[in-house]
């Protein structure tokens, strides 16, 4: 049963996932770019999977190419779930 999509829930999922890819929790803000955080395409592919498993929202390859910041990722998931 997918979790209900709210900006707070999605933000929590993303903030909890990023340290699994070696990101320091204290470095994460909505404005942080994935490049600054050293999060690459493999990490983003895994993040997409975590989001799909949790919320039932599928992020495609094109989507992943467009998101640059943590905020972009959160907003994209929230908009897909609306």
């Amino acid at each position: 049963m997918p979790t209900t999509i709210t900006p707070e829930a999605v933000e929590r999922t993303v903030y909890e996932a990023l340290p699994q890819f070696g990101v320091e929790e204290t470095d994460i803000t909505r404005e942080s770019t994935f490049e600054e955080l050293d999060v690459d395409s493999l990490d983003l592919a895994e993040l997409s999977q975590i989001i799909e498993d949790e919320y039932g929202v599928a992020l495609k390859g094109d989507d992943v190419g467009r998101i640059k910041t943590v905020g972009d990722a959160i907003d994209l998931v929230v908009s897909r779930g609306a």
């Binding site: 493999l42 592919a45 895994e46 999977q49 975590i50």
Partner: protein, 243 residues
């Protein structure tokens, strides 16, 4: 990293020949094995029984990898045996003929089963392996591919393609403890080679055909914990033919 509990290996085209030997070798190494087959239910069942008689766990799963969603095969393997953390893309067909005489259908069929299906199965397999931080993909290629063999342009293209795919996918996922390798059998004593002339063996330094078990042993190694630093490579099992 060591293989997790209950880890299952899914071997495609495992009802006979090389596939069946691979399934048995993996089971001997402690993997639960999903024995996929297309038509030969009896062969698949014999493979399962051989594994169970030796104290292992196995299940026969019908499905044509060229004509069906990988999702269903993986879901059934996971439900019946455990998380699929090894995939052996072994299912393969031949449709020989000189390039000037090969029909579109002969080309398509061989590419679809030997290459495209392997890609789709790999794509599906890698997702949970990445999350588990452990995985083993072994693609059964062939000496034909890197090497010419008149009458097999389609087979060679598919097998060479499989080797290329192996290298790239290996590079993509290596960081997550997932290895992707190929084995390249030479002349192995199976149904697929029974109509080859004796003279073919002259090209083999070892002067004999290999056995399916010898290919199985190579796959067993590549799927093992000990092979965690081996990735993106092709292990030739060909009696020296490619040396």
């Amino acid at each position: 990293m060591a293989r997790p509990e209950n880890a299952t290996a899914l071997v495609t085209g495992a009802s006979k020949g090389i596939g069946s030997a691979i399934a048995r070798a993996l089971a001997q190494d402690g993997w639960a094995v999903a024995v996929n087959y297309r038509k030969d239910a009896d062969g698949a069942q014999r493979t399962v029984e051989a594994i169970e008689a030796a104290g292992g766990r196995a299940a026969a799963l019908a499905g044509d990898v060229a004509n069906g969603a990988p999702d269903e095969l993986f879901e059934r393997a996971e439900a019946e045996l455990g998380p699929v953390l090894a995939l052996v893309n072994n299912a393969g067909v031949r449709a020989d003929g000189l390039a000037i005489q090969l029909e579109d259908d002969d080309w398509d069929r061989v590419i679809d089963t030997n290459l495209t299906a392997a890609f789709r199965m790999t794509r599906r397999a890698v997702r949970p392996m990445i999350r588990a931080r452990f995985g083993r993909i072994v693609n059964v290629a062939s000496v034909v591919g890197p090497r010419a063999n008149a009458g097999q342009a389609n087979y060679a293209a598919a097998k060479a393609g499989l080797i290329g795919m192996t290298k790239t996918v290996a590079a993509e996922v290596a960081r997550r403890g997932v290895t992707v390798n190929a084995v390249a059998p030479g002349f192995i004593d199976t149904d697929m080679t029974k109509d080859l002339p004796e003279s073919a063996i002259e090209a083999v330094p070892a002067r004999r055909a290999g056995t399916p078990e010898e290919v199985g042993a190579a796959v067993r190694f590549l799927a093992s914990d000990a092979a965690g630093y081996v990735t993106g490579t092709t292990l030739f099992v060909d009696g020296g033919m490619s040396a």
